[in-house]
Subunit: 568 residues, 2 copies
């Protein structure tokens, strides 16, 4: 059935795989990609034998339960569901389901495996079922743009990175018309269920859809799946979002290489900006994996209300101390969203947004008089390139595009300036050379690690179970992740239980709050207890390229294991 | 004897390896690093059994043989040496050698294995020999800064990336005083031999040292070893320089990930600048490994005398053609040294260097009148950020630092401008979004691939043989690299045979000419025959992370195999 994939790494001639409807099949697979396709995915043992679903107690919300109850009258209070072993099969084996699946938002390694997991469940437990993949994200639901997924179609994407099987998109189903369109699609395809694979916003959206379908007495159940490399969608029942593990390991390989480079050359400070705008989980995890000299965690900067000058001084102090022991090199990690965490910068940006929206920015700089004293001082303190970036780059809503601000270059310049000052004062007398890096896109679409491959497959397979058992408004939840796969738990968590409300334009809107780095959490505390040692002594670790076989190939990341109480 | 290395990937507690004199031992090794230390390196079979050394015919030079003969009166004409199986051992087993080794210039994965190879040869075949590692590059020779290498010292660096075992440096031994210092060190340490691990310049230097020692009747032999990730030090007898294989595979992993990202997102053109200033080998190899939509090869740009406008138009034409088939995304590879290959840019830079050295650059721009018409036109055509980079960044010799010019961003801006024009004309009507990347330092210090690990070990072990047999002025040469390791050939090539002269300040200076991408060579021809297909159809390949075990883990790179006539 499955098309044969010709390995390319062996450099045999005539390697192009047979053309088909999918994009993948027009290309040749590398040897590693090929070898991954048939990587066998173990399932948690509860999924390998007869099971039944046990509901937990009535759930509440993460905050403002009354408001959440009002927003989700049909779903609020739903219990979480957990699979437990059973003597006999408890779900009807003759049921044929029609299920849709959609990928929402930015890519994360493992998305294809979630779809494979759903598909395999349907094939194995509800023979004759149909799985539709909506193309290009939620827009595909609204426009009823879909493809029917079958074995041949899915096969080349197994254990592969990217979202290109059905592609993704950033549209949202928000307005009454859009909900209407989604209803029409669900009715047209006679959908029993829909799985939304996405981040916090998309899962909130999934829950609104579930509520909407339920309120209209439609049979279409809606489930969510936790996706984001940023790692900021998690709670007790959903210990991690998929993709985080792979992305961090890819970045950590690069950081580890740069560390060896730094030590060999002995003359560069490498400033590495890492993806992750809202939360600094990626930066923290990469620090735990590689032991850089300096790591800036946005949440700590915000909690301590640090200024940009404070952050610069901290870096400069470490550089000066290292110079005293003849280390004129180092590696520094910075989260992409750093400047968003700095109160004074947020204030400046807010003022700039206001000015740019309403004033003429004259070349002479008279417009600067509109800034408050504090913001003007900060603005003048910033390197010119950053001033320009703050003035120029606006998204369609008139906001600064933080991801485009090259924070690592900004910090290099600010550190240079400060070190120059200290040279004048006689407290530093070395040559400082900064090298800037941004590790971003190359981490989003890598081949999923064994952990992400297995985790995603279990998430998808578990979603199949939840659909089969009639659940809606849950997020697929796989737990006990520090144990071997066989012992992982499988179930679903009420999406409403993860929600709080935010007031926007005078209305309450439900949100799943982004999980930020907890300064009292085990990962940060471990980092905080070691960073002074890492700063002055070189404790670099180079994880090297991700290995798919051999010792350690299955191990999860530090953040997850520490949060789960494992020693690592 | 060897210190035990505690794996860290398993996250066991108390993992710090025992402290010792080496920097490495203050840090913890990752599981992959640990597993690499004991990776067993097969030797070519000629080195496993008794061998003898057979000299080839008298050699000449790569050009201007008469001048080379004058510059190297004692060495010119030396034959190449080749090891062949023999009935009995032909080298004295009771000889004790004192050998020095030095790493010169930028890092390349595998350097530590060259040193391990030399060390193991000395241990196994000339018991009681001593190996000194000069610290910090050639300066270590001049200042007699060294460390005596022993098993414990070397052990943690086996099959590891970086040059930090003894570190490297960019100093050169050039002046009579510096040669004097080198002589003094050789006499002080009673050196029988010295191995210089470096690029074209360092190997030229090694030959000058060999000539100098010989001319003074000193016993110290000097050998070279071909190192550079850029891949531009090679000839028939030296098929590749070490480090190229690993660096390209690291970059290709990242490019492959970005390709999947491009295809999944469907809206970005990724412009990837790759290390390799003088020659475009890295870019070409990465193209052969990943099949990007557009690849710019500097040597072709130079041969066809293309302008920056030509290059921009080529890219824009492909973007427009792809838009017609609804591909509004793609991946574009650019060599770091691109602008060095463009005649008009070289002219502009030369004029700017002249102006900046002698004129006052006024803000009003009157200085521009000193530019020729053509250069002025080009300067005005460049994006402002690039204009600024061209004006500001000068190295100590007053030259533009090409590596600091963000060519990928420059091209994005130029492509944007041209597409805007075509939009006005109505020949393009889509949204163009460029994303820039520079893959550089993270490739120089990765864990060597199996190929580089084995190749370097053979280079070092072979250097040991050449030293033992009294050779000087040769570069260690391992050949037949498309065959399994067992069949690799081992020998040495006369460094003078690789040389030509350049006239500098009225004097002839010997140089090993950088090996550029040959437009008639097999790698470029294969690329050229496929690029139109790659441009419009997506033939992306994602090599994935380097695997150290499993199928294909030992395969060399496309460039090398194609140059050797292998089908791939």
């Amino acid at each position: 059935m499955a098309p044969s994939f010709v390995p390319n790494g062996g450099f045999a001639a005539g390697k192009v795989a047979p053309t088909s409807v999918t994009g993948r099949l027009t290309s040749v697979y590398s040897e590693v990609q090929n070898s991954r396709i048939d990587y066998e995915l173990p399932l948690p043992s509860v999924l390998q034998r007869p099971f039944k679903i046990v509901d937990g107690p009535r759930s509440s919300a993460a905050g403002n339960a009354d408001e959440i109850a009002k927003l989700f009258p049909h779903l609020f209070g739903q219990p979480s569901a957990m699979l437990v072993p059973s003597e006999t099969e408890t779900l009807p084996s003759d049921q044929k389901l029609k299920i849709g699946v959609v990928l929402s938002g930015g890519q994360a390694p493992g998305g294809h495996n979630v779809i494979s997991g759903i598909f395999d469940y349907l094939q194995q437990r509800t023979k004759g079922s149909i799985l539709y993949g909506f193309r290009g994200g939620p827009a595909g639901i609204m426009k009823c743009k879909y493809v029917e997924l079958n074995s041949d179609y899915i096969y080349p994407y197994r254990n592969q990175g990217g979202f290109d099987m059905i592609c993704s998109g950033r549209d949202k189903i928000e307005t009454p018309e859009q909900f209407k369109q989604a209803e029409e699609t669900a009715r047209k395809l006679d959908l029993d269920g829909l799985v939304v694979i996405g981040g916090d916003d998309s899962n909130t959206n999934a829950c609104l859809l579930a509520e909407n379908f339920r309120s209209k007495n439609m049979k279409t159940q809606v489930l969510g799946c936790p996706k984001t490399i940023d790692g900021d969608l998690k709670c007790k029942e959903v210990p991690t979002s998929f993709g985080f593990d792979t992305a961090c390991k890819i970045y950590a390989e690069m950081i580890g290489n740069v560390m060896i480079d730094a030590r060999s050359t002995g003359k560069y400070y490498h400033f590495v900006r890492l993806m992750g705008r809202a939360a600094s989980h990626i930066t923290l995890e990469c620090a735990l994996q590689t032991h850089p000299n300096i790591t800036v965690i946005g949440e700590e900067v915000a909690a301590k209300k640090l200024t940009l000058k404070n952050v610069t001084d901290y870096i400069v102090d470490v550089i000066c101390k290292r110079a005293q022991v003849n280390y004129n090199y180092g590696v520094i990690l910075i989260p992409e969203g750093l400047i968003d965490f700095i109160p004074e910068v947020q204030q400046l940006i807010a003022e700039l947004n206001e000015i740019l929206a309403h004033e003429i920015v004259d070349e002479g700089g008279l417009w600067k008089k509109k800034l408050t004293d504090q913001s003007l001082k900060l603005f003048e303190f910033l390197p010119q390139a950053i001033q320009e970036q703050l003035m120029l780059e606006r998204d369609p809503h008139g906001n600064v595009q933080v991801a485009k601000i090259e924070t690592e270059k900004m910090l290099i310049q600010m550190v240079e300036t400060e070190l120059e000052k200290r040279k004048q004062e006689g407290t530093y007398k070395f040559e400082f050379k900064g090298q800037s890096h941004f590790f971003g896109y190359e981490g989003r679409c890598g081949l999923p690690t064994n952990f992400d491959a297995m985790y995603c497959y279990a998430l998808g397979y578990g979603a199949g179970v939840l659909l089969h058992s009639g659940k809606t408004g849950l997020i697929s939840s796989v737990g006990n992740l520090s144990a071997p796969v066989e012992e992982w738990t499988v179930g679903g968590t009420a999406l409403t239980s993860m929600m709080d409300v935010e007031r926007r334009h005078g209305k309450f809107k439900p949100v799943i709050k982004k999980a930020m780095v907890e300064l009292e959490g085990a990962p940060f505390k471990k980092f905080a207890s070691l960073r002074d040692d890492w700063a002055l002594n070189n404790r670099y670790i180079s994880p090297g390229p991700i290995q798919f076989k051999g010792p350690g190939a299955d191990a999860a990341n530090h953040t997850l294991l520490l949060e789960l109480g494992a020693r690592c």
